[in-house]
Amino acid sequence: MISLFKSMWQVFLHAFRKRATIQYPEHKDYLPPRWRGRIILSRDPDGRERCVACYLCAAACPVDCISLQATEDRQGRRYPSFFRINFSRCIFCGYCEEACPTDAIQLTPDFEMCEYDRQNLVYEKEDLLISGPGKYHDYNFYRVAGVAIGGKDKGGAQEEERPTDPLELAP
């Protein structure tokens, strides 16, 4: 009984504490680089699209708000022919970034993306694609992958030997 009143007194005393609220937008707080905000698609250090349209982000998405279609260019690079994120559904959980094997999809410290019309929250690839590598500066998936693309034949990736000739029997 006494402890109940003691708790009430403790709570009451909070009335005289300093406020924890930050008065946004007059005062903007610092957001760490790993903040999970607006999603972007990045480019590799050579300036090419990083996304290889593997569908893992879409599969990881708990609200299924990512959809895309894979296609391949003449050089053998996979890329998404369309890539759509419905931000009116996105919960900014960051699972897509976690699932991405090429560091293409990244969440950024930007959350100011309100719209009066929900339709405007549907972002297509041209809205998502930025011109830099984002948080991860050096990674280029095709330098480690075994597939051949224009400018990199078989055996041209890191840690790869030159291709063997199957008709060659010499050890």
Partner: protein, 903 residues
């Protein structure tokens, strides 16, 4: 039954298995690569290591390969043993040494057996610091993609391709870690079953090239159980769709039909569904004017007006439309004015096949049982091109007798040993066709003759088997020897089989085949008969007892009927244009079809029909098995199932037919021969725990984004009134009854190998029985032999007997709309024997003029050595040759001089 002990727990299993199959059947997760339930064990990959103990006191044990160890009485093993686990993880680690960092761009990803097995063993980090070996890839044609870096050297591909499917142009090259699987140089894979490599390969070396063009992961595909539309065998398939287009076909196991494999036409012929020639809107054509698209409601209004005011309706059914659609048309037109929609000859053949199966004592063999036959006679059929999966089955059947001879010492699952014991020995397979066949290479004897001679050979064999069967008079010595050999082989066999069919277009050949099978049955053998038919529902259409096409023409010309309804049928492929044109004299010609074709181009009303991927229906395969296929995706826009269009304009049916179950119910009532067809799959009100079966996997992605570009408000998932399947990820996700299995997936088993978990035991039937309902069973009574053997073939001077030649890629109507199949379809030609060509003064490639009832047609000549003199082969319905062949007719052939060529 024997007892084995797995991790000290006792289990009862079927005797005669290996430990791997036994463990998988018992539900244990034991990783493996080289073993395949149809290819059996070779012990190459060392992945299925378990520890075996002598007895319960043995604590040390020894590591053995489960796939190479018989599961005998009292065998005691441990899967969980730490040493065995470490061994398996080590093997995976070694396999992964050279495996490229490709998964994100690999088409196998998400349904990769290697991924599954790696996760299963727990290997997750690459410790090896050395370099990876690499290979150049090959271009293997339009069907199969090659990415050799990913290979783990399990040898499954060559074992399937060479040993199982009889191909010769894929092999293992080089040595050590550099073993290379491919052709000696880039080129199209020759085997008609090359597409199976995509499913057989446990990783991404061989993948589906047609899928690559519109790539979708397995988990993102909306799938439903379906049946192949590209021949009459009715192989079970699982088509996958995404964003409203069909993406690929994968195999759906049915032990009674197709087992683990599909042919390339079935696997890659699906792209007609996405074709630009699809009809998407109803079209009304004013006299002489251009077609005007109208709404479905307007079209139905117009049609109801036509139907109400017409003098009579003729309904032309189709052997490629479902039973339901054909029956709906039969209801609209009336039983007397319903015609089957095939040429009169084709109609007679199909009806004859039905009569043979219904009235004779020989059982129509399920396609899935054909590989067990130990003596086969093929009369007149080029099965590789006409019913391709029979080719694969026959390649297994010739091993049956040598395997049986080798049995006792060698367990049947020990593939290396049994192949070593069998060597090149083959059981009896006799082939009698006019032209050389792919299977000749494995045949005991291949005989080239005109259709009449083939029939005479059959009659002769029958008369040797049973005295009562009529013989053909006046046979030569060669034929007599051959007939005796065939009769002898069939008599000695435990499971003899006769294959014939409608391919050659000769009733006499069918009758001869029936006589052989009946004579065998009469002598007390379990005689099997397999009669092939041209199209997916040829058997169903024949059972429907429609009239011949000429009946329709007569009705129109006599004025009895002024309205013709053509159901999913391009009549210009069936009959000569002069005949079909007569039908278009009717006041109204209503065509219901999915693709724009010569018939729809002339029809006054065209209704867009759903393809197999967008509709439900029942097909009866050539065995007489009714099988249900389900919508993979909902029809878009104004497209509707044919039976719905027809129900919409049939006054009596409009209210009565709400779901497809109502249609099939009425059909069963009206035509008792179809009793049971409705049982091919559970009805629309079937639920599991109150739920429909989900067409989308649990991890189906993009639900809230895929249509967000059109509207951010997600549409309701389309309702499916006709089936117990739902266009949703909500619903039953476990193992439904076999006819409803939409995909093979089990936790930890993402690849097609998850199938093991759906079977009663590995390699056995699906839990709950293989789907399909046989409608035809043999009559238990003495056969009335066909008495009339044809006379010997005699050629007439200057005229050639035209025989149809089939091409797996090209002869079938719908599959040619797939780019890959189109690419492999040959260009039109005329086949002549070298001697005949010499007589005409023509060399290979020279032009000839063929006189057909349709007129003159110029074709280049192809020389076929074995073709009998006086016989000319015309490829059936190759693009550009539709409607040319009327089997059994003689036609004149003139050489076209070089100067006049090229016109």
């Amino acid at each position: 039954m024997v007892r084995i002990f797995v991790d000290n727990k006792q289990h009862e299993i079927e005797a005669g298995q290996n430990l791997l199959a036994a463990c998988l059947s018992l539900g244990f997760d034991l990783p493996y690569f080289c073993w395949h339930p149809a290819l059996h064990s070779v012990g190459a990959c060392r992945q299925c290591a378990v520890k075996q103990f002598r007895d319960e006191h043995d604590t040390r044990g020894r590591i053995v390969m489960a796939c190479m160890t018989p599961a005998g009485e009292g065998v005691r093993i441990s899967i969980d043993d730490p040493e065995a686990r470490a061994f398996r993880a080590g093997v995976i680690e070694l396999m992964m040494l050279n495996h490229p960092h490709d998964c994100p761009v690999c088409d196998e990803g998400g349904e990769c057996h290697l991924q599954d097995m790696t996760v299963m063993t727990g290997h997750s980090r690459r410790r090896y610091r050395g370099k990876k070996r690499t290979f150049h890839n090959q271009d293997l044609g339009p069907f199969v993609n090659h990415e050799m870096n990913r290979c783990i050297q399990c040898y499954r591909c060559v074992r399937f391709y060479r040993d199982y499917a009889g191909g010769s142009d894929l092999g293992a090259f080089s040595l050590r870690s550099q073993v290379y699987f491919g052709r000696h140089e880039s080129g199209v894979l020759e085997s008609e079953f090359s597409g199976n490599l995509a499913e057989v390969c446990p990783t991404g070396v061989f993948t589906d090239k047609s899928l690559k063009r519109h790539y979708t992961r397995k988990w993102d595909m909306q799938t439903a159980p379906s049946v192949c539309m590209h021949c009459a065998l009715g192989c079970n398939i699982i088509p996958g769709s995404r964003y409203g287009s069909l993406r690929r076909i994968s195999n759906r196991f049915n032990g009674q039909v197709n087992g683990y494999f599909l042919c390339d036409r079935g696997r890659f012929g699906y792209e007609f569904v996405n074709s630009a020639r699809r009809l998407r809107r109803p079209l009304l054509r004013k006299a002489g004017g251009a077609p005007a698209p109208v709404s479905a409601a307007a079209a139905l209004r117009r049609l109801r007006g036509i139907i109400a005011g017409c003098r009579g309706i003729v309904g032309i059914g189709s052997p490629r439309a479902s039973l339901e659609a054909n029956y709906a048309l039969r209801r609209l037109a009336g039983p007397d004015r319903f015609v089957s929609g095939v040429s009169d000859g084709g109609q007679r053949l199909a009806r004859l096949a039905v009569r043979i199966l219904q009235t004779g004592p020989a059982r129509s063999v399920p396609p899935g049982d054909i590989h067990k036959s130990d003596a086969v006679l093929v009369l007149g059929e080029d099965v590789t091109n006409f019913a391709p999966m029979l080719d694969l089955a026959l390649r297994q059947s010739v091993r049956q007798r040598p395997l049986r001879d080798a049995a006792g010492a060698i367990p049947p699952w020990d593939d290396t040993a049994s192949r070593g014991a069998v060597q090149q020995r083959r059981g009896p397979l006799f082939i009698a066709t006019p032209a050389a066949a792919r299977l000749d290479a494995i045949a005991t004897a291949a005989w080239r003759a005109a259709p009449a001679e083939i029939a005479r050979l059959g009659f002769m064999v029958a008369s040797l088997l049973d005295q009562d069967a009529p013989a053909a008079a006046g046979q030569g010595a060669e034929e007599r020897t051959l007939a005796a050999a065939i009769a002898n082989a069939l008599e000695e066999a435990e499971r003899p089989l006769v294959i014939s069919g409608a391919g050659l277009g000769s009733e006499a050949v069918l009758e001869a085949a029936a006589n052989v099978a009946w004579a065998l049955a009469e002598s007390g053998r379990p005689a099997g008969l397999c009669l092939t038919l041209p199209e997916a529902n040829s058997m169903g259409a024949a059972l429907m007892e429609g009239g011949p096409l000429s009946l329709a023409v007569e009705a129109v010309e006599s004025g009895e009927a002024d309205t013709v309804v053509i159901l999913e049928n391009d009549l210009y492929r069936r009959a000569e244009p002069s005949i079909v044109n007569r039908l278009f004299k009717a006041r109204h010609v209503i065509a219901i079809d999915s693709l724009d074709n010569s018939t729809t181009e002339r029809a006054s009303v065209v209704l867009p029909a759903a393809t197999f991927a967008e509709s439900d229906g029942t097909l009866v395969n050539s065995e007489g098995r009714a099988q249900r296929y389900f919508k993979v995706m909902p029809p878009l826009g104004d497209v509707m199932e044919s039976w719905r269009w027809l129900a919409g304009i049939t006054p009596a049916a409009e209210a009565a037919w709400q779901t497809i179950d109502d249609v099939i119910g009425d059909l069963e009532k009206e035509l008792p021969v179809f009793t049971g067809a409705g049982l091919a799959a559970p009805g629309a009100d079937f639920r599991i725990g109150g739920q429909k079966v989900a067409r989308q996997a649990r991890s189906y992605s993009g639900r809230t984004a895929m249509s967000a570009n059109l509207s951010v408000n997600e549409p309701q998932s389309p309702a499916d009134r006709d089936s117990p399947l739902a266009f949703s990820m909500e619903g039953f996700q476990g193992q439904p009854p076999p006819p409803l299995i939409p995909r093979y997936w089990e936790p930890g088993w993402n690849s097609a190998q998850a199938l093991n978990k759906f079977q009663e035991e590995v390699g056995g039937p699906l839990r709950g029985g293989d789907p399909g309902k046989r409608l035809i069973e043999p009559a238990r009574r003495r056969p009335h032999y066909f008495q009339q053997a044809p006379g010997p073939f005699s050629r007439s001077a200057g005229r050639w007997l035209l025989v149809p030649l089939y091409h797996i890629f090209g002869s079938e109507e719908l599959s040619v709309f797939s780019p890959g199949i189109r690419q492999l379809a040959p260009s039109p030609y005329l086949a002549l024997s070298p001697s005949d060509a010499a007589g005409l003064n023509i060399t290979a490639g020279g032009l000839v003029e063929l006189q057909t009832p349709a007129g003159f047609i110029r074709l280049p000549v192809r020389l076929i050595d074995a073709l009998p003199a006086g016989v000319a082969g015309v490829p059936v319905c190759l693009p550009g040759l539709e409607g040319i062949v009327s089997p059994g007719i003689f036609a004149g052939i003139n050489a076209v001089s070089e100067g006049a060529g090229g016109a």
